[in-house]
């Protein structure tokens, strides 16, 4: 079907199958349509259907909260066209050529499942076609057995990669995480749409790195730290990782983080912040390069980093409330300009 989008910066046409979503089809064609979560929660990808009609996948998506549905407002990440459509998008949009990095649909098989803690699983996807993506990007996964897509950041990164690595945290009432935790899903097929997201690391920027992550938000940070470590970035720059979990035993990927810190002669510092338990010591009993702190991860970062925000880029990922707290620290305390604050806020 033919989709025409009127934007603040011009009019664009693209084709969208009845099975695809307006947002995804537009992104695949290189349009920089606005989005953040791409899964219905944030509301950033709003558009107004002026002519034509679309089926809405997730009618109760939280992102609809501020939209005027009686006027045809839709979340483009939830709308599948049922006819040609004319859609208004209140944002500046440009068409870019992708050099092989535009998001696309791929299929993938789940394998290499491994439990990391009581409620966190590491899993990998074998892709039908290789994908190139930056450290810090994410994809939307959709399983036939579970309604709707879920956004997950990759732990890895690279050019023409044929495997994606993820962590998933079990969430009360989370349909996708329940599916992962309650079933033997090894070998199952999922749809992968991506790569997505602009919370990416660019070594050429030459900034010191500050990462603040909660729970499975550490995934994207690990890819950023690995990218930096591979390029010997910490020879000339500092890095700080603040990783928030509830208790000491909820920590994961600590061995990897500890190894990265050990390689950098102190220029990469890793702190595990425990929100629901008093830390037993100043450093982790098993991982000597990981410092322990009590309290919320954004507070731990603020206490530690005060006066050390020189030439910095900040990365934030985790539950929305944690991300909001960390963004306030980076804007108010660190005084970082918005272009050097990058975040993913997944619900």
């Amino acid at each position: 079907m033919k989709i025409t989008v009127e934007t603040n910066s011009g009019v664009f046409d693209f084709e969208c199958e009845a099975t695809d979503k307006l947002l995804y089809a537009g992104l695949t064609r290189g349009l920089t349509l606005p989005y953040e979560c791409a899964t219905g929660t944030c509301g950033t990808c709003r558009g107004r259907i002026m002519q034509g009609s679309a089926h809405i996948d997730w009618d109760q998506a939280p992102g609809f909260a501020k939209l005027k549905r009686d006027k045809g407002d839709v979340l483009m990440c939830q709308a599948r066209p049922s006819s040609d459509c004319l859609v208004r998008v209140p944002a500046r949009v440009v068409a870019r050529s992708g050099c092989g990095t535009l998001p696309q649909h791929r299929t993938a098989h789940i394998d290499a499942l491994r439990k990391l803690t009581r409620d966190v699983v590491h899993f990998e996807l074998a892709l039908s076609r290789p994908m190139s993506f930056e450290a810090g990007q994410f994809v939307v996964l959709e399983a036939p057995e579970v309604k709707g897509g879920r956004a997950y950041s990759m732990v890895n990164f690279g050019r023409e990669v044929d495997r994606l690595v993820f962590v998933i945290k079990q969430k009360a009432g989370g349909a996708f995480s329940d599916w992962v935790f309650r079933n033997d899903i090894a070998g199952r097929t999922v749809d992968v749409f991506g790569p997505l997201g602009r919370a990416t690391f660019h070594p050429k920027e030459g900034k010191n790195i500050l990462c603040i992550a909660g729970g499975s938000g550490i995934a994207g940070m690990l890819s950023i730290i690995e990218r930096a470590a591979r390029e010997d970035y910490f020879r000339d720059h500092t890095g700080h990782v603040f990783f928030g979990v509830r208790t000491l035993e909820d920590g994961f990927y600590l061995s990897e983080l500890c190894d990265f810190a050990a390689q950098t002669e102190g220029r990469l510092k890793v702190t595990l912040a425990l929100s629901h338990e008093q830390s037993p010591a100043a450093v982790h009993p098993e991982f000597p390069h990981i410092r322990l702190m009590d309290g919320l991860v954004a507070d731990a970062a603020q206490q530690t980093m005060s006066g050390r925000y020189d030439n910095m880029v900040g990365f934030v990922a985790g539950p929305p409330i944690m991300v909001d707290g960390a963004l306030r620290v980076l804007i108010r305390e660190a005084r970082l300009p918005p272009q050097f604050v990058r975040y993913d806020k997944f619900s």
């Binding site: 603040n8 953040e36 509301g43 950033t44 107004r48 002026m50 501020k66 006027k71 208004r88 209140p90 944002a91 500046r92 909001d324 963004l327 306030r328 804007i331 108010r332 005084r335 300009p337 918005p338 272009q339 604050v341 975040y343």
Partner: protein, 124 residues
């Protein structure tokens, strides 16, 4: 059009925003160090309440929800911000902040009664 007293200069410390209601018009006073601005209470992006989400640093007001940001000394849009910040004219008199309030400034997304559907795009 009349100048209306909003608050005392000392009511709004440097680098903070505070909400006031004057003759049924709700507005925020922002103290950016170099002066004061009187602005509508919602972010023009996605209606976040700037009293909670707004942070002032380096003369810039940033909504921490999606990082839209404006230079409060010039009202220029910063970074990827796509809509201008509206503001009431302000002046200081005897330690008070006064705002020139003719009618309440609202962003188009708040206009529920529009019939032409032209509220959807920003009028940059």
């Amino acid at each position: 059009m009349t100048w209306k007293r909003v608050c005392k200069v000392t009511d709004v410390p440097e680098n903070t925003v505070k909400k006031f209601t004057v003759d049924k018009v709700t507005l925020l006073i922002a103290n950016y160090g170099g002066g004061f601005r009187a602005i509508p209470p919602l972010c023009p992006h996605m209606q976040e309440p700037l009293e909670e989400s707004g942070v002032i640093a380096n003369c810039a007001l940033t909504c921490t929800k999606h990082l839209w940001s404006w230079d409060l000394s010039s009202l220029d849009m910063l970074g990827e911000t796509e809509r201008p910040l509206q503001s009431y004219e302000v002046k200081l008199e005897n330690g008070d902040i006064l705002a020139l309030i003719d009618k309440e400034l609202v962003y188009e997304f708040e206009d529920e009664d529009d019939i032409k559907d032209d509220d959807f795009f920003s009028k940059a």
